[in-house]
Symmetry: C2
């Protein structure tokens, strides 16, 4: 909460936290269940700190493959997001359950799906007229028949628009805790040309405001040096690869 506060006070618009990886579902069931209980507690704590979210106008968003979650966890998510929905100045993204590859794969499925032209009663084309195009859709719901799609119209912007972080500003700073020097399938697409990556030796519960402040200040100094001719510099997005409690994240 202190880290969030210093971020929003410094003008950071979006903070993204890696709470639970899809990979974690491979753990023993009792561990997964324990992590889900922790998630519910964290979400209810967030509700209790509603005034902090309101103070900075921050809304909560849960990014990830929600269909993998239990009904009671989904309800806790619904309650927490509903409570902050009116805030529109800043965003707290919580990746849960998430992997970057799943996000990109989901985006690809969405792009293919969105090209579908649903036609309940397709016209009967003349075989000699090759300039017309028809498509029909099956009733399974899982199989789509995409209609006319211009391949060239799929650009990097299309992909960005289909990410869970759609509409968020670029990621400026990515902090990876736990002493391992890996991205661990976190915000790979968002890690663009100018994203600074910082590895911290601290495990998440020990990664406190005093560990975070030097990273944020150092980023500001470096960026200011790089972009001094451009004038003002502000951190727009911060991503943190941090787990929920001891067992979370990765």
């Amino acid at each position: 909460m202190q880290i969030l506060e210093v971020c929003y006070k410094s003008g950071v618009k979006v903070v993204t936290i890696y709470a639970f990886s899809i990979e974690n579902f491979k753990r023993p069931l009792h561990e997964v269940n324990a992590l889900m209980e922790i998630a519910k507690i964290k979400l209810s704590q967030l509700c209790q700190h509603g005034e902090l979210m309101d103070q900075y106008g921050a809304s909560l968003r849960i990014l990830g493959h929600r269909s993998l979650l239990r009904q009671d966890v989904l309800e806790a998510i619904e309650q927490a997001t509903e409570m902050t929905r009116h805030n529109d100045k800043a965003i707290l993204n919580v990746c849960f359950p998430y992997t970057s590859r799943d996000e990109i794969t989901t985006a690809i499925r969405d792009i293919v799906s969105s090209s579908t032209i649903p036609q309940t009663s397709p016209p009967s084309p003349s075989p000699s007229d090759s300039s017309t195009s028809t498509s029909t859709s099956t009733s399974s719901g899982k199989t789509a028949t995409p209609g006319l799609m211009d391949i060239e119209s799929i650009t990097e912007k299309t992909v960005t628009r289909h990410m869970f972080t759609s509409g968020c500003p670029p990621l400026d700073l990515l902090v990876r805790t736990s002493g391992v020097e890996r991205l661990s399938d976190f915000m790979m697409w968002q890690c663009h040309q100018d994203t600074d990556i910082v590895f911290s030796d601290s495990l998440w519960p020990q990664f406190d405001i005093w560990k975070f402040l030097p990273i944020l200040i150092n980023w500001g100094v470096k960026r200011r040096k790089l972009e001094k001719e451009k004038g003002d510099v502000e951190v727009r997005g911060v991503g943190m690869g941090m787990g929920v409690g001891k067992g979370g994240g990765y």
Copy 2:
């Protein structure tokens, strides 16, 4: 060349070098032309060192958006790849001209394209029969009409198969030179759960075997510690974010 040699001697199967970013085309024309000349020189040097490539059974692959290259550069590429085509024990990937986002976007286009069912004389379906599906293709070549596609069949494996690095082993170690702590749009998809990322302060021409060896050895020690119960450890893929000469890369 020394770095390549130590990699192949240590059993690394694939080395990937970031030679030229698509972003570099935004530079002034005379700079781009100079970089292209350097690329041609490097490719011809590689041909002269053919015996090294043969010694380790390494074949050259150029990954990237080739249609952006000049005809004479394409010919130099063709000559160099042809010379090592018979080698099948190791791979030297040179990303040129490349960005990771372009690679992923290209993969998405390929996935959409590969779902196209070309039909020169499409059957005339009955409007009442919703279980059949037809598609026709236009003559422009740019617009495709994908046929029946099962969205659920698009998985992370599909995406991996459509990357330029398709068929390569997982990326174990990524070395980023030049003292900046960014991925700079290099192998974002390949940077999987277990890829170690190492930032080096050295600029590329100064990044020599004595800078590289400690990184490789350190990786081995760390990985052995992590996976000691699994037995033998070997580096399968190494990616290096290094530019061609002073102006290259990023």
